[in-house]
Amino acid sequence: MKINKIILSFISALALLLSTSVTSFAKVVGDKIILGSAISLTGKYSSNGVHTQNGYNMAVDRINSMGGVKVGGKTYKFEIIYYDDESNPKRAAQLAERLISQDGVEFMLGPYSSGLTKAIAPVTEKYGVPMVEANGASRSLFTKGYKYLFAVLAPANLYLDVAIDLAVEKNGGKPVKIAQAFEQDAFSQDVRLGILEAAERTGSKIIIDDKLPKELNDMAATLAKVKAVKPDVLVVSGHTKGALTAIRQIAEMKVDVPMLAMTHCDAAKLSKQHGKNSEYALCASQWHKTLTYKDKFFGDGMKYAADFEKEFKYDPPYQAAESSAALLVFKDAFERANSFDKKKVRDALAATNMQTFYGNIKFAPGGQNVDKPMVLFQVMCNADGSKCENKVVAPTKWASAKLIHPIPSWSER
């Protein structure tokens, strides 16, 4: 049985390989604060993953070039270790483990999407590693009692319930008929919960309640039903692909509905990709460049958008803006903690109360940001449809345009 020799030598080779490949960074090396993040660079969330990464990188460059982080009288610079989580929660959890136990990272930035954040949070919690995340909005993240999780964004159930209120208001205060279709993932299902609550509150009826598959490319069945039953509002949520699919097929099938409420319009670059077809879509957004929040690193939203466009050649979706804000929160917390002790940084994070270009940030005990309302914008085009823009229509405090309701039918457009 010479085969044994082969297997034995194989195992020793493996052992050797493993023992030599331990590369350990520490949390703070020289003048660098090392943050870790698993990001969806491939897979179904890759476009949003890239928005997130661009947001992170932009803030790192900006903070580093504007004096860095001052802790204990010394100046430090941010650096981020990225891994590709392939849009897969299993991988994300493994990578979090790897960042912490192998790479020695002690401060984490969140991944893209609620599902992946849900997979990572138990790991960071176990090691007591503070994580500031900018792209996990599912409410279930904030009811688990996590102490080291901080989200700069508003929870997902608040995304579109305002749209239902608007529809009811436009309907003369009378309940409306709602058709809805949501992707089967943590985020979209939470948006659905928000709608259910709004429906109950306003006495509205849900007449279509469909689930859409992940990797969604077709929702013709739902739209056929919508055509038949004529609801007052159609709500669709399914990340970037959901938004693109909905607009493409609504235009193809000429579905007339008085109000179309969605998420991820700006991440999907709807107004650019589908132009006039996407007109009148009402979209939930965590941020819009016309909001008037300010900070000293990025100035205001308009300036952020201009700088972002210069660097990455596209208009920043809110996913990028909130990701940049996460770094500002970390910087602020490090300086207030004046230490790299995980516990102290965590406590400083919990006490955060600041304004950034992206909005006010103040964390509830559950970790969600309670100081920043959602906005709704509507895609509006000029007369010949050559240029389409997202204009904020609600809440009225920031509205730069008036909501167009009902949406003109396709025969009139």
């Binding site: 049985m1 010479k2 085969i3 044994n4 020799k5 082969i6 297997i7 034995l8 194989f10 195992i11 493996l14 052992a15 390989l17 493993l18 023992s19 490949s21 331990v22 350990s24 660079l41 491939t42 891994y83 590709d84 392939e86 849009s87 897969n88 929660p89 299993k90 959890a93 493994q94 483990e97 790897r98 136990s101 192998q102 599902g115 849900k118 997979a119 138990p122 790991v123 919690e125 176990k126 090691y127 599912s138 409410r139 279930s140 009811t143 688990k144 009692g145 159930n157 949501f182 089967q184 993932d185 943590a186 979209s188 299902q189 939470d190 659905r192 919960l193 689930k211 598959p213 992940k214």
Partner: protein, 349 residues
């Protein structure tokens, strides 16, 4: 025989010591163990029996959901745990956690075995491509169905109970490592022992010519079902462990992950050499190291590299690593080669 004992002892010691020698790699090592279990069990169908199944992921996912559900459901109302929006949080005491896990793993192994028996009875009559496509459908369907069942979290996913605080940060990693290592040992011993019986010969007979095997009086259906049930048992177990290890179950991305795990188990078995005992073990190990390596050093290119690996395997090692070794050094595999034969072969080439 002596050498065999030395080998197994060395492996066992290596396995037991591994988490202490490489403390930072506990999670990867645990996953390696799960991968080996999946490859070993896939090989029972794909390698020995010649039935290329993509359906083993069904048992893996089923085990994952079952284990977590039992672990929660034994002590707390499951519906409240998984309620969308997650309004309630319960905390397992260490005793509850371990009791739940033990019970969960038993259920996670037994129920898929029964399911395999039932499904096997109805679809193992299919052969060749038809069987492969049918099982592919099983995994996809299970993913979509489970994504709609509210009590297991539906599209929201299912957060498995967090590991209880037992004083040490390393405890969780060690616990799951030894659990998965035990699963590997158990699977290996079972597979090895059934391969030394008539059962393996029957599986091989089915692979080589099922009609002839039937004509010889073998009840092929019975053996096919038993084989699949054995696979299901260990796949379910592996799934249960993996669920706890990952900490979050998603219907299509973690549990019924046919696109990744479902394909990987086939790939690993083929890479190592299907139809051999050690092939899947070696295949899984090489595959895992390869993938982890690319993951770290060639960020974003890992799937390209994987594609290249598959092409290389198919072209240069169609019989897998073990098959290639066997052809190259037949005497090391205990095969007697006649010198004249070898010369004749060389001349033929």
């Amino acid at each position: 025989m002596n050498k065999n004992i030395i080998l197994y002892a060395a492996l066992l010691i290596f396995g037991l010591a591994a988490p202490f020698i490489f403390p930072a790699f506990k999670v990867q090592l645990s996953i390696l163990c799960v991968l080996i279990v999946l490859a070993l069990t896939w090989n029972i169908q794909g390698g020995e029996m010649g039935y290329n199944t993509f359906g083993n992921i069904l048992f893996y996912g089923l085990g994952m959901y079952l284990c977590a559900s039992v672990q929660v459901g034994m002590f707390f109302p499951l519906a409240e745990w998984t309620e969308s929006g997650g309004e309630k949080t319960f905390v397992h005491t260490p005793t509850q956690f371990f009791q739940g896990m033990a019970m969960g793993l038993i259920v996670a192994a037994v129920i898929p075995t029964i399911v395999a028996g039932l499904i096997g009875y109805s679809i193992l009559g299919l052969r060749g491509h038809y069987f492969a496509i049918c099982t592919l459908g099983l995994g996809v369907a299970a993913g979509e169905i489970s994504g709609g069942i509210e009590i297991i979290g539906a599209g929201q996913g299912f957060t498995t109970p967090p590991f209880p605080d037992v004083g040490s940060l390393e405890a969780r990693g060690e616990f799951f490592y030894f659990l998965s290592f035990m699963a590997v040992v158990l699977t290996f011993i079972t597979v090895k022992s059934i391969y030394s019986t008539r059962f393996k010969l029957i599986l091989n007979a089915i692979r080589d010519n099922e009609d002839k095997a039937e004509a010889m009086g073998i009840q092929t259906m019975k053996y096919k079902i038993i084989g699949w049930m054995i696979s299901a048992f260990f796949c379910g177990l592996a799934g249960g462990i993996m669920g706890g290890l990952v900490g979050y179950i998603d219907s299509t991305d973690v549990a019924f992950d046919g696109r990744e795990m479902g394909v990987f188990m086939v790939l690993m078995a083929i890479l190592g050499g299907k139809g051999t005992l050690w092939g899947p073990v070696i295949g899984a190990t090489v595959f895992h190291i390869f993938k982890e390596g690319f993951w770290t050093f060639f960020l974003g290119w890992q799937y390209v590299a994987l594609g290249v690996l598959i092409v290389v395997i198919v072209i240069y090692f169609p019989e897998g690593i073990m098959g290639w070794l066997r052809e190259k050094y037949p005497e090391r595999f205990g095969e007697v080669v006649d010198e004249a034969d070898r010369k004749a072969q060389v001349e033929l080439k």
